[in-house]
């Protein structure tokens, strides 16, 4: 049997491909409902091609070849001679399943950058605002400011506006003219231009105010301070204040590589510093009988994830992969590269933060404390600094802050963050917190 981990676009495409070829597949997902982070509709939400998830959800419910285990958090995995055992926690009970092959489609979460006041209630990721709306029918606040960088800000803003939210504006850190650096990617992906035109029309329809080359650099609980920034995100000048009670700030995405890391799948650092898995042209990882698809092999969006999911499934089934799928992946990977070129996240954000602002939200460690660990306690790398300050050692296991802490230490010590350090802070020995009690219950 083949197990697919994750029920987002990549996982659903993989599962449906396996089922269509008359093989048994088990889909294990941590959420109570399918769709991953992007396809999480409780009801119809306005957005480009928002109905295309329907056939996958139907297959999950109806196909006799698909076993769907929802609400199950895999916390560890072990590979033996010819099998892979996945240990998961569902409804407080520890269980395990042993399969021959695994397709990992574990997705990604928003990358967050700290700014002065980002600890305040109301500051959240665009993913959070979208999850509240799509998954729970709740508009995050009275007046929502969308900020950060990248095209994902558009569906979030349009979805909120269409649902009746007051959107205070979209503050994009880069200029759309940066797309001119990637003419080949644009020519290869005309459907992406159509999608963009769709969102531009919606922006006009809902009269959304979009500004470029700007960022939210501070929030006092009532108003966001907006500054013009250069391409490295360094502040040029503070230009205005915008009243809002929610700031949804997102700076690209961080893939979840923990489970593949535990299974020994080789990781590499992408050109933008993101840690991803190395896969071959059939989406095969370095570990035997493990394939990986979607954001964990490079951030590229739902379209690329769907194609990669299908390729991974065909390869896992030992079937031929049609040339048109490989071509589709090539086109979309070119587009993914263009995204990185168009929306880089430089280190200028370090100039936005007051010394007393927290960098590690869990352990409440401030920028000043991290800097002092270098200047006064002679920490010369992030690991030593973390031991002094506890930054990155809280409940989120460093998922939110560890990259930012490493970038801060690198600047303080005038070094570059090494590839080894990036892979180090992206991995953890256990992929989700689990209590010893739950473990003991499973053994009984």
């Amino acid at each position: 049997m083949i197990a697919v981990i994750g029920a987002g676009p990549a996982g659903l495409a993989a599962a449906m491909t396996v089922a269509q070829n008359n093989e048994q597949v088990v889909v294990i997902d941590s959420a109570p409902r399918p769709g991953g982070q992007y396809w999480r509709h409780l009801r119809k939400v306005e957005g480009y091609k928002s109905g295309r998830s329907d056939k996958y959800f139907r297959a999950l419910e109806e196909s006799k070849k698909i076993i769907y285990i929802r609400g199950a958090q895999i916390w560890s995995a072990v590979q033996s001679e010819n099998a892979i055992t996945l240990n998961y926690l569902a409804a407080g009970i520890e269980s395990s399943i042993t399969v021959a092959k695994v397709i990992l489609a574990t997705g990604a979460h928003d990358r967050a950058l700290p700014f002065t006041g980002w600890e305040r209630p109301g500051v959240m990721t665009p993913g959070a605002a979208q999850a509240l709306l799509k998954g729970h029918n709740v508009i995050a606040g009275q007046k929502i400011l969308i900020t950060g960088t990248g095209p994902f800000l558009l569906p979030v803003a349009v979805g909120l506006a269409a649902a009746g939210a007051q959107v205070a504006g979209i503050i994009e850190a880069h200029s759309p003219l940066r797309w001119l650096r990637s003419p080949v990617a644009l020519l290869l992906n005309p459907q992406k231009s159509i999608e963009l035109i769709y969102y531009i029309r919606k922006i006009y329809q809902y009269k959304l105010k979009v500004s470029f080359n700007r960022a939210v650099i501070a929030y006092d609980g009532r108003a966001a301070s907006i500054a013009t920034v250069d391409t490295e995100l360094r502040i040029k000048e503070t230009v205005s204040k915008i009243d809002c009670d929610v700031i949804a700030a997102g700076w690209g995405f961080t893939p979840d590589v923990t489970l593949g890391g535990i299974l020994g799948c080789q990781q590499v650092v992408d050109r933008d510093g993101t840690v991803i898995f190395a896969v071959d042209r059939d989406q095969r990882s370095s570990a035997t009988n493990i394939w990986i698809a979607g954001e964990a092999t490079g951030i590229g969006g739902a379209d690329l994830a769907l194609v990669e999911g299908r390729i991974a499934a065909l390869s896992a089934l030992g079937l031929a992969i049609p040339a048109r799928l490989r071509l589709a992946r090539y086109r979309l990977q070119k587009f993914a590269t263009a995204l990185q070129v168009s929306y880089p996240v430089g280190n200028g954000w370090q100039g936005w933060i007051a010394l007393e602002s927290k960098i590690c939200r869990c352990e409440e460690v401030s920028l000043g404390e991290i800097c002092a660990s270098v200047s006064e306690l002679s920490a010369n790398d992030a690991r030593t600094s973390k031991l002094f300050t506890r930054a990155g050692m809280g409940m989120c296991q460093g998922r939110i802050c560890s990259r930012n802490v490493s970038e801060i230490i690198a600047k303080q010590t005038q070094c570059e963050v090494t590839e080894q350090e990036r892979i180090g802070y992206s991995n953890r020995p256990i992929s989700a917190p689990i209590s010893l009690g739950a473990l003991a219950n499973g053994i009984k």
């Binding site: 941590s30 959420a31 109570p32 409902r33 982070q37 409780l42 009801r43 979460h109 928003d110 967050a112 600890e119 305040r120 209630p121 109301g122 500051v123 959240m124 990721t125 993913g127 959070a128 605002a129 979208q130 999850a131 509240l132 998954g135 729970h136 029918n137 709740v138 995050a140 009670d245 939200r361 869990c362 409440e364 809280g394 409940m395 989120c396 998922r399 939110i400 917190p433």
Partner: protein, 87 residues
């Protein structure tokens, strides 16, 4: 999948009564009622609401029916739940 948008579950948060719809998370139901603080932090006693909203950051942890460290953004409300802020 529930299509209901009506609030027909009741629960308490720090002793006050709230309502929510089936399938809604604790955080969503409370935010829909205007709650802006799910907990205070351990060291500086600062208010926190949700942050990542998808179970990654653990910023929204609350105590649900006596079980600590539950992520309010993930855990769905049930009739009669007693929820209190983590301190």
């Amino acid at each position: 999948m529930s299509e209901s948008t009506g609030a027909d579950l009741s629960f308490t948060f720090n002793g006050d009564c709230y309502e929510g719809a089936p399938g809604q998370s604790i955080a969503a139901a409370l935010m829909a009622s205007g709650v802006r603080e799910l907990r205070t932090t351990r060291f500086h006693k600062e208010p926190r609401l949700i942050f990542c909203g998808i179970g990654v950051c653990f910023d929204c942890v609350v105590v649900v029916n006596g079980v600590a460290n539950q992520r309010a953004c993930l855990v769905e409300i049930n009739q009669g739940d007693e929820i209190v802020s983590s301190k």
